[in-house]
């Protein structure tokens, strides 16, 4: 039985934590002020105006417009301040910086699988470096879960069939709780673990110490061959399927005319249910891999496609120039095999 009093705040171990705490303290102040004000007035009036004889009545006061306006507008101003402040903190929480160290997370009843890009896997424990922005790209294999790290003041639901993300930058080395914070069944309260923040040097040591068979991307490359993706998605010539080099992050045109950004979600959908959103100029011949690839496999394939170059780093033909944009139907080079 712990003998000392519990603290009022969890440790503040991320860049955003002090900002959240500052807003929280302001809110505590506002709450305390108004609660004490109302309580004080009530007690004061109750004593001062207590009934002195059984047939006494109160004064006939119907109301006062000035007061009504005052206690409408002043609270309105206060909540406006809180709204703006809260929104600004929220934007910082919701928008990761451009450069992040990515870790893939798969939640399932009732454990967390963390996959580092170098191929290292962790279960219920996540090692991260202090002082670098880390982005978690997360999905669930079954029901809705949630990653919550109180010390970092961040939380995000983890959904099946979709990718969600969460980012943080740890400021202090240490071990911090990570909880599942969306009820998910029997062992919901057992779906917990630790984020281990290490100083950069220690983190490099840790990275090197693990026995990884290869990076996540190279694993994806192997799966790419095993599943015969390479027969249609060829790197050298246009095959039956779009070329994947430099594709990640690019905007392509779909068959129905709409534009689509090639992100993790689109890649996942294109593997599981390829005919939902077909790139313009291609036939619906790709088999659906629903049920044939696990969530882990999907993540490794996505990382492999990312490793083939993304839109920022290896640009091919520019859409605005004379050359064909990826996905546009081009009379000069018909999709292989069809004609």
């Amino acid at each position: 039985m712990p003998a000392e009093l519990p603290p009022l705040f969890p440790e503040a171990a991320s860049t955003i934590a002090p900002r959240v705490d500052a807003l929280y303290e302001f809110l505590v102040g506002v709450t305390a002020f108004f609660s004490l004000l109302i309580a004080g007035l009530i007690v004061f009036y109750a004593v001062k105006y207590r009934r002195r004889s059984p047939d006494e009545v109160g004064a006939r006061i119907a109301g006062g417009l000035v007061l009504e306006i005052a206690w409408t507008l002043i609270p309105l101003a206060i909540v406006l301040v809180i709204f703006v402040w809260g929104a600004r903190v929220f934007f910082a929480i919701a928008r990761p910086p451009a450069e992040t160290l990515n870790v893939y997370v798969v939640g399932k009843q009732w454990m967390w699988k963390f996959q580092h890009l170098n191929g290292l896997r962790e279960i219920n424990e996540l090692h991260v470096p202090v002082g670098r922005a880390v982005k978690l790209i997360m999905t669930s294999e079954d029901v809705i879960h949630d990653v919550f790290v109180p010390a970092f003041r961040v939380k995000a639901d983890v959904l099946p069939g979709r990718y969600t993300h969460l980012w943080f930058q740890a400021t202090k080395a240490g071990r911090y709780h990570v909880f599942c914070a969306e009820y998910c069944g029997t062992k919901h309260s057992g779906m917990i673990g630790q984020v281990v923040a290490l100083d950069p040097a220690d983190y490099q040591v840790w990275l090197a110490s693990g026995r990884a068979e290869g990076s996540l991307a190279s694993e994806g490359g192997k799966l790419f061959q095993d599943l015969a993706c390479h027969t249609c998605h060829r790197p050298d010539v246009q095959g039956r399927g779009p070329m994947l080099e430099g594709l990640f992050g690019r905007t392509v045109r779909l068959q129905e005319g709409t534009l689509q950004v090639v992100d993790e979600a689109y890649l996942r959908e294109s593997i599981l249910n390829p005919n939902a959103k077909i790139t313009a100029g291609f036939q619906p011949v790709m088999p659906a891999y629903q049920g044939l690839v696990s969530e882990d496999g999907l993540l490794s394939l996505i990382e492999y496609v990312k490793s083939l170059g993304d839109a920022n780093r290896t640009p091919l033909a520019q859409p605005e120039s004379g050359g064909p944009a990826p996905g546009e139907a081009t009379p000069a080079r018909p999709p292989g095999g069809a004609r």
Partner: protein, 540 residues
Amino acid sequence: MSENPVVVPSRHYLNDQVGVASWLLTRDHKRIALLYLVGVTFFFFIGGAFAVTIRLELATPAGDLLSDDTYNKMFTMHGVMMVFFFLIPAIPGVLGNFFIPLMIGAQDVAFPRLNLLSWYLFMIGAALATYAVVSGGLDTGWTFYTPFSTSSSTSAVVPAALGIFINGFSSILTGLNFIVTIHRLRAPGLTWFRLPLFVWSHYATSLIMVLGTPVLAITIVLVAAERLFGFGIFDPARGGDPVLFQHLFWFYSHPAVYIMVLPAMGVISELVAAFCRKPIFGYTFVAFASLAIAVLGFLVWGHHMFVAGQSVYAAMVFSSLSFLVAIPSAIKVFNWTATMYKGSISWETPMLYAIGFIGLFTIGGLTGLFLAALGVDVHVTDTYFIVAHFHYIMVGGTIMAYLGGLHYWWPKISGRTYNELLAKVSAAVIFFGFNLTFFPQFVVGYLGMPRRYHAYPPEFQVLNVLSSAGASLLGIGYLVPMAYLAWSLRYGRHVGPNPWGAVGLEWTTTSPPPTSNFNQTPIVTWDAYEYPARIEGHVA
């Protein structure tokens, strides 16, 4: 104190007709109110029993009292019983049913048989939910999130959902009844702005009941269709979206919390006016605030989903609207407080509950601002901070108002009075026990303890022990009024028509009232809380 002897009416609504059939087939809104009283009290104690097991388990960090599945069923069923079979029906079903016709000078509600049907639907729905409880229990949380509730849970989801569905119709018909009653059955001269604020609050509540509950009903149908027939409406593998469930669910369930609190606010208006013996300050503002809460309450459901994957822009919209909905509640709190200025304030039990409500609702409501603030909500959502917030409003708010109203109107309902000392002590025990139970939960929530956790890290134990200690006090506090109110039915002192010296049509008729409420339809030419210069001839 006047010494007029109390004239006890020989015939009144309680003894006009006797026999079980005369109760179970009654069309008298007052008897139906008592049928609701029996029902909601019973289900309150069932829900309370689940709360006891929760707090017992949480006194220690390890999950050592119950298995995890059992614990998950305990908190689920605590929520289901309390929300659907106590908090939503209690004040409208008991106090609304009894007093709206009396307050407007009518003989009954617009559709008395529909009113009885509402009670039967409530009881049938509750019975089905109870069947779900005893046939294995429900473990989805009262919020039923998909895909857990549709594809993962092996508990009695469909019977429970069906029970809630049927209970929803009870709510819809009650709301419909109240709206038509208030529109059509007001006594001559009783214009809208002469209505007691209790009536305004119930009118606003009825609007929500009628507009919101059907969306819960269709949501339940979709979940049941997925469980029973395998329709993949929320199944991501088949193109369904589990987050769509959350939108549909919260579209009702957020306004539902206003169904729980608006009637309570209506009670408080009556109590403050009566025990200060003056009009509620800013009557018109309070009346419109009720309507504003009802309307704005439909626009904020997304604040339950700030971390659920919705867009940042949607979050901004819901956050700003959530701040707006706090303003009318603040207006009410200020107006009640201002009413006390230069009042003639007496400290009987109902007023204690009213003051307790104002204090605790203020705290609970202000902690709502923490949740509307996006940056803080990310940290505290799905933690005990949320649990503390809603218990401050629903227990510190609604239940205290319910008890206050019950004590205030008990003499009218029963013709008898209760032991004032015991009542005051119980109110104090409840107030103290409540704060000890739930205040530590704000702290442990910010520290990071998630909700719906069967076991927790040891550093959260001290705060949990405080909370469990408070819960045992709270439980005792709730049991004692049961005892003395029941005792008073037989042994309590008889009272006259107006024991409190209050103003309102219900106080012009006998205690208990005759079946037809009034011997003659009143003609109203006065405002809602127009106190005479002195109270003459009332018997305390």
